[in-house]
């Protein structure tokens, strides 16, 4: 396997992705990611020099809204699925120490 994924990398990606993997899952993830990256490295066979990265297939542009208020008070709906709420707000664990 050309791509060897270190414990640090998996730890780091876990922080970015906010995923907590068990020891077993981490080993799996290292293996899976290494294999996938080996496979993805196949792209290096392609000469893409001078090719613009294509995010959108169609050259659509300037899709705008006018600056007009269209929404009213939807608080009740917005909070409907909240796991926890208080005083019309989403309740979360304290964000400052």
């Amino acid at each position: 396997m050309a791509n060897v994924i270190s414990d640090e990398t998996i730890e780091y990606v876990g922080i970015l992705a906010k995923l907590e993997l068990s020891g077993e899952e981490k080993e799996e993830a290292k293996k899976d990611m290494g294999r996938m990256l080996d496979y993805i490295d196949m792209l290096n066979e392609l000469d893409t020099g001078g090719v613009e990265p294509m995010s959108h297939v169609f050259a659509m542009h300037n899709v705008f809204r006018e600056d007009v208020v269209t929404n009213g008070d939807e608080r009740e709906k917005i909070l409907k699925n909240a796991p926890e709420q208080k005083d019309g707000s989403f309740k979360v664990p304290k964000t400052v120490e």
């Binding site: 990398t9 998996i10 780091y12 990606v13 876990g14 970015l16 992705a17 906010k18 995923l19 907590e20 993997l21 899952e25 799996e28 993830a29 899976d32 990611m33 294999r35 996938m36 990256l37 496979y39 993805i40 490295d41 196949m42 792209l43 290096n44 066979e45 392609l46 893409t48 090719v51 613009e52 990265p53 294509m54 995010s55 959108h56 297939v57 169609f58 659509m60 899709v63 809204r65 939807e74 709906k77 917005i78 409907k80 699925n81 909240a82 796991p83 926890e84 989403f90 979360v92 664990p93 304290k94 964000t95």
Partner: protein, 547 residues
Amino acid sequence: MKIWEMTALELGRKIKSGEIGVAEAAKASLEQIGALEPEIHAYVTVDEDNALKKAAEIQKRIDSGELTGPLAGVPAAVKDNLCTEGLLTTCSSKILYNFVPTYTAEAVRNLEKAGAVILGKTNMDEFAMGSTTETSAFGATRNPWNPEHVPGGSSGGSCAAVAAGECFYALGSDTGGSIRQPSSFCGVTGIKPTYGTVSRYGLIAYGSSLDQIGPIAKNVSDCAAVLETIASYDKKDSTSIPRTDCDFTSALTDDVQGLRIGIPRDYFGEGLDPEVKAAVLSAAKVLEEKGAVVEEFDLSLVEYAIPAYYVIASAEASSNLSRFDGVKYGLRAKDYEGLHSMYKKSRSEGFGPEVKRRIMLGSFVLSSGYYDAYYLKALRTKALIKKAFDKAFERFDVILGPAAPTTAPRLGESLSDPLKMYLGDIYTVSVNLAGLPGMTVPCAVDSKGLPIGLQLIGDCFQEKKIIRAGYAFEQSRVYQEPELAKNVRTARDAAGDGMSGRREPGAARADGTYMGGVYTPDKAACIASDKITGYKADGTGKGGARL
């Protein structure tokens, strides 16, 4: 002919003429659901009460002459990644086990406007990530042709429901083949339209630049009619494209005279099942005999589509799925210490292994130092693939090939090796990368009795050409329904009441899975279990729904 055996348009005509009532049609579907769901598990949620209520309303609007469309009153199913106001929408994920949207996806609204009776929400691979519908947190869906086999994915629930007569048509979504591959495995017809044709507003995103909603039905005519209904320019979706050529049913002519069909040699190489190959090539013959000009050619770059696709789709997914964090909706872990622990625990408990795998990969390829090497490289590859298609469509009207290298694998066979599973997307992903329309039409049944699908690919905005080819081919073949559906019907007819396979609603209520008139999977069990790993070899689908 039993009601559930009809195509959507046949039923629509009979409803219009008053021969069949809307409620009668809805009940026929619900009975079929009742009979087959224990075996198939195509649905995550069946909205029985509401469907019947809606049926009565729609009947009135048809009677008053307000609803006149060809699909008015026809029962349909919707993939569970499309938001439906007031109706549970889970993406087959534990992280959305209790999510009830407060708005309806634009495509579903278009169906509702046309008088559709929405029966419920269909099972899928979790967040549409998978090719078998086994990654659903609520248990796998089974193939109506053979319950030991997968229905394909990720729109496996929608395809299985159509094949089993549990609805007359369904909506699916296709990011890398999620409509076309399960349509092939289930012997039904499905279209992935040109990117931007159907609004993505209300579709819970997987890979935003690749996702498209499309119809799944028993034949090409139904698909064209449904696509005509759901296609719309939507100002709420910036990538929606205003089109004036969405009269897809106008292409339902049995005429392929002079239609230039290209067969990419690269689609018929190593890895393709010989039976699939033979069936697809003989389908090409049928079209040739009808007057199409069929020619082989080299498409090129086929093998690079999968790595490029997995980089782009995973990267977008890692960002799209970051909103599932236990703050605004869905699952929040019970025990945590502080904010970041809440995030990590909720997401780790809420997402299944395949979703985590792709989020990890996507986060990695976007991370500092790798963005150029992986993400931009993939976007450049995408540009080359698009160019290769552009070149092909200078010569051809339609590209014809298989939808998948094999017929449906057995349950549990694919998940053990993710990379191998990804390779099964070889004929479908490039179509998403290039934004093209693609369609699967059933063309044969293999020696194991499993259906084989033919894929027709068109240039951007050329759905009509593939519809024309698909329709012409279809005329040479009789729609085959799966054995299972036949058997159940036979058993039911023998019982004489037409209800023998139906599960008792009371039973569902007793075990706590009945929620406000909505049958749902066993969410309580799902949440109680520590981890959901999808399908278990013993067929129980640990924690999953067995209605």
